[in-house]
Amino acid sequence: MIRSRLTAQRLAFLFLLGCFFFNYPLLSVFNRGGDFFGLPPLYAWLMGSWLALIAQMAWVVERKEN
């Protein structure tokens, strides 16, 4: 499991990162008109950073050293 303290701490860091990504004030930066490769910036930011976060989490827990 998430036996190693280091893994737990890396995940906790991702938690804090996520809290920052998914909340005010960062959201207000993307909350505007215009488009980003045909997508609204807020939608693109949220879906993109969400997927990146999930990828990071996968990388942290599935690393060989675990």
């Binding site: 995940l11 906790a12 938690f15 008109g33 879906m47 999930i54 996968a58 599935e62």
Partner: protein
């Protein structure tokens, strides 16, 4: 083609397949080849989080507020990033304590409190019922819409339909029956349902596939990719507003609130707790779930916004409920198969949620609400009933039916006033009330049962007042005056603007107040006192993690004979027998009967029972057969503080080693004393030998001379024979005295103790020696020797002492001029005054001679064995006749009667041998007060003293 019967048939077919999967998984589990022992299955089953709220409601929410549907899924993602700290710990604690539900978890954490378990159950049931209503609403709506295919007609409001024509009622009944089939076929001690989990995992796949299919169809089938949809949406002002969210503090506040709320909901909703914690087969599965579950959430939300926008573009003007876009868009394009797939996807989202949620709730209702009450009602006699497993299943079935019934009722009452997502959020806010006691209980040891009760109650009341009651009022089932004007017309008590708080949406508003009071009461009340023994023990188990769970919680014991029948009553005898046998083999024992009656067995039985009836009830039941020794706070401190045990042990060791050192010293001393005694014994024997050989030498020499020379003249012969006789007498006396002394010293002497008149003994002794005194012409004077002074002593022994002292005196005084005096007196020594006045309490006898006296250095030595006075005093030329044993024997006798014997002497001026004995109280010898007073002044001579 999509006639009603097709839909019904497809529905039952789908449910039938699910049931078959569950049945197969159960079979596999029974033969030990679990289908679900797989991290992917675990992650998929967590997808039960996505209900019809997600399947239909997210699109509706997106249509109403753009990206605002998303925080509900970002929260769980963040929670799983904290899995290492929270979920992992919860799973370990729950496994170690056989926790079967969130109510069980809370009750167990705060000292296995039945009251707390009951409160959590009530909150969970009341809180989750809107959520169940939501599923009923979604399924019945989708059915109604589908039934009118290919036309798209919004179903009538539920309240307008007569009860028995309401499809939602039938949906509720069918779901109840299905859940009962799923969840209550048999009772499992671990409360795990492998078949159910397998079915839920399959359902997660079905709903994801269905949604992705709709998304793909809408994006690429109807439109020309995602960019096309967004471009079209941007062109329509009404739709374009959904591309960004409202840029205001309140909107961001709501956003943050929803992230926070969903984070806890994904952990604390009864079904989430059931799947994530209770049904977890292997804690290592959590690792895969950490990213796979968020990924599932990501995928199922990928097309939400495009579908919502496409729906708004396709059905302008709000003629079609946005909550139905997922279904109505394929319908509008005549995609029959896709429509049916979407319907099945929605059905799977609803059934998954309803099955797990109601099973979890029914377990809680049964274990934490009904059983504790039933067991307390003595008239039912349940505590004594042989087999309760059937009853337990019956209670659960009724609980499932009741919960779905309540869900339907809420749907009829309040369902129409809210969109799907809003109904769901009411439930989210309710279960968020568990967060302080659960999370606090995992990390803070100071929480108490009272604090948990107060916090939960406060949070629940505020939740009901600010969220639940207004939902009734808005539906017209409660007068809505109190919403606008406050309770009793008090403005400050307006439920959605409590204490004048405005500017927040109703969910955030509810959470602010309910969690504030919840947390405040939980912490504030907990801090009123230190946790009691039981709370402290549970706190250690939960906060310390499973590592601390090693210490058995029971201090008493009960045997298999008590515990097996008890477990059998709740689990059924066969299952109980199996479980005990497994426990026995785990402990390396051949059979159940070999299990020792120890705390471990009791703990095993308790956790076994906890699976069936909840930890609080299990504790009560086990306590009924275990005579538990009371657990003192000191002992608890010892259990908690291992270091103190080590310290105590060290102290004990030190003490032991100290004792050992002391014992060694004592032994050495005893050994030295023994060696000294041995040496003394050697000396004694050597001396005795010498003393015996001396008379023998004379006897032998004279006998041989007489034998060898018969011609010795008569005078000589008479003299020799006389010597032989006297030496023989001496020898006999010596032997007698040695034996006597040995008897005295070993304590084997026989004593005849009686009151003895001392004067009488003195007279008698003097009389017996009259002849000897007369022969040597020595005078004997008796002074103050009058009857009346008595002592407790052996008369003959006292006589022996007197004779010995007198003959010694006679031996040492000169013939003709010799004078011996015996003085008797009573005197007072400091001590206890008798009868309140100072009375003489000691009798003193002195034997005074006018002989040569004794050197100071010899005055103590003469009381040693075989030490004859003449041996070291050069005053005598004539060796006295004696054995050297008389004085030691006399001293032994006097000391035996608690007296003292000593000599006072000035060399050349005679010697005075004195002994004292305690005077017997109550004799009639009157003695004047004073310290040393002679018993009388009148001297008188012994009869033979003058001769």
């Amino acid at each position: 083609m999509l006639q009603g019967w097709v839909i019904v048939l497809a529905s039952f077919l789908y449910l039938g397949i699910l049931f078959a999967i569950a049945w197969y998984a159960d079979r596999r589990a029974d033969i030990g080849r679990s289908l679900i022992a797989n991290p992917v299955v675990y992650a998929l089953s967590l997808g039960v989080y996505c209900t019809t709220w997600t399947f239909y409601g997210s699109v509706g929410r997106a249509a109403a507020s753009g990206i605002g549907f998303l925080p509900i899924y970002l929260g769980p993602t963040l929670l799983f990033a904290l899995a290492g700290f929270i979920l992992h710990k919860m799973i370990r604690v729950a496994k170690a304590n056989r926790i079967t539900s969130i109510a069980d978890f809370v009750a167990s954490r705060y000292g296995k409190s039945q009251l707390l378990g009951g409160l959590v159950t009530v909150i969970a049931v009341v809180g989750v019922i809107p959520y169940i209503a939501l599923q009923l609403k979604a399924v019945s709506n989708s059915f109604a819409i589908l039934a009118s295919y290919p036309e798209i007609i919004m179903p009538a409001t539920a309240g307008a339909v007569p009860l028995f024509q309401d499809s939602a009622l039938y949906v509720a009944m069918i779901l109840a029956a299905f859940t009962i089939l799923f969840g209550t076929r048999h009772l499992d001690a671990t409360e795990r349902h492998e078949g159910m989990v397998a079915a839920i995992a399959v359902e997660s796949v079905v709903k994801l596939v269905a949604f992705l299919a709709v998304g793909a169809f809408v994006v690429w089938g109807v439109h020309d990719g995602v960019s096309d949809i967004f471009a079209q949406a941007a062109a329509v002002p009404e739709v374009a507003r959904r591309l960004a969210t409202a840029d205001s503090p309140a909107a961001y506040g709501t956003w943050g609130t929803l992230v926070f709320l969903s984070m806890f909901a994904s952990l604390l909703l009864p079904r989430q707790f059931q799947i994530a914690v209770v049904e977890n087969v292997d804690e290592s599965h959590l690792r895969r779930a950490v990213w796979m579950f968020p990924l599932y959430l990501f995928l199922i939300n990928l097309f939400v916004l495009p579908v919502a926008l496409a729906g708004m573009l396709h059905f302008p003007g709000g003629t079609v409920d946005a909550d139905t876009f997922v279904l109505t868009l394929p319908m509008a394009h005549q995609q029959e198969a896709l429509t049916l797939l979407v319907y099945i996807g929605g059905l799977s989202a609803a059934t998954g949620m309803v099955i797990v949620e109601t099973i979890a709730l029914s377990t809680m209702v049964c274990n934490d609400l009904v059983m504790p009450l039933l067991l307390r009602l003595p008239m039912l006699g349940l505590a004594a009933r042989a087999d309760l497993s059937g009853l337990l299943l019956e209670i659960r079935r009724w609980a499932i039916a009741l919960i779905l019934g309540l869900g339907y009722l809420y749907f009829r009452v309040a369902g129409e006033a809210y969109a799907l997502v809003s109904i769901g959020l009411i439930s989210f806010a309710a279960v968020a009330q568990f967060a302080p006691v659960v999370i606090g209980g995992l990390f803070w040891k100071g929480g108490t049962r009272d604090g948990a009760l107060a916090g939960l109650a406060a949070g629940f009341v505020l939740w009901a007042y600010t969220l639940l009651l207004p939902s009734f009022a808005k539906s017209g089932w409660l007068p809505d005056g109190f919403i606008a004007h406050g309770l009793f017309g008090i403005e400050l008590l307006r439920p959605q603007h409590l204490f004048g708080l405005t500017g927040l949406d109703e969910i955030t508003h509810c959470l602010v107040w309910s969690l504030l009071f919840n947390l405040g009461a939980y912490i504030g009340v907990s801090l009123q006192r230190v946790p009691n023994v039981r709370e402290a023990r549970q706190a250690t188990l939960f906060v310390g993690g499973a590592e601390a769970a090693g210490a058995p919680g029971w201090r008493g014991s009960a045997g298999v004979a008590d515990l097996l029948p008890l477990a059998g009553r709740f689990l059924g005898l066969d299952r109980a027998q199996e479980a005990f046998a497994r426990h026995a083999s785990q402990r390396g024992l051949k059979s159940v009967t070999e299990l020792p009656a120890d705390a471990r067995l009791v703990s095993f039985a308790e956790t076994l029972l906890a699976g069936a009836i909840g930890s609080a009830s299990a504790r009560v039941m086990v306590a009924s057969v275990v005579k538990e020794e009371p657990l003192g706070i000191d002992e608890v401190m010892n259990i908690l503080d291992e270091a103190s045990q080590v310290r105590a042990y060290t102290r004990e060791l030190e003490q032991k080693s100290l004792e050992l050192t002391r014992a060694t010293a004592e032994l050495r001393e005893a050994n030295a004393r023994l060696r000294e005694l041995d040496r003394m014994k050697d000396d004694f024997i050597s001396t005795v030998t010498h003393e015996l050989r001396t008379p023998l030498t004379s006897i032998r020499a004279f006998s041989e001379m007489l034998q060898e020379d018969p011609k010795i003249d008569l005078a000589q012969r008479t003299r020799f024979v006389g010597i032989i006789v006297s030496e023989t007498v001496r020898l006999s006396r010596l032997i007698n005295q040695i034996l006597d002394l040995a008897k005295l010293e070993s304590g084997r002497a026989e004593w005849t103790v009686a009151a003895v008149d001392v004067a009488e003994v003195i007279h008698e002794a003097a009389e017996s020696l009259t002849v000897l005194f007369a022969e040597k012409r020595v005078t004997l004077e008796l002074e103050g020797c009058e009857a009346g002074l008595t002592v407790l002593a052996d008369r003959d022994r006292l006589m022996q002492v007197m004779v010995n002292l007198l003959s010694n005196a006679l031996k040492f005084v000169a013939a003709d001029s010799g004078h011996v005096k015996v003085a008797l007196a009573a005197l007072c020594v400091p001590g206890i005054p008798l009868r309140g006045q100072v009375t003489a309490n000691e009798v003193r006898v002195s034997v005074i001679d006018n002989g040569p006296g004794i050197q100071v250095e010899d005055q103590e030595v003469i009381f040693d064995k075989f030490h004859q006075g003449a041996a070291t005093t050069d005053v005598l030329t004539d060796k006295p006749q004696g054995t050297g044993l008389g004085l030691p024997i006399s001293r032994q006798i006097i000391e035996y009667f608690n007296g003292r014997l000593w000599v006072e002497s000035t060399p050349g001026a005679g010697a005075s041998f004195v002994f004292t004995l305690p005077r017997q109280a109550g004799d009639n010898g009157e003695v004047p007060q004073g310290d040393t007073v002679p018993g009388g002044g009148r001297g008188h001579k012994s009869p033979g003293g003058n001769s």
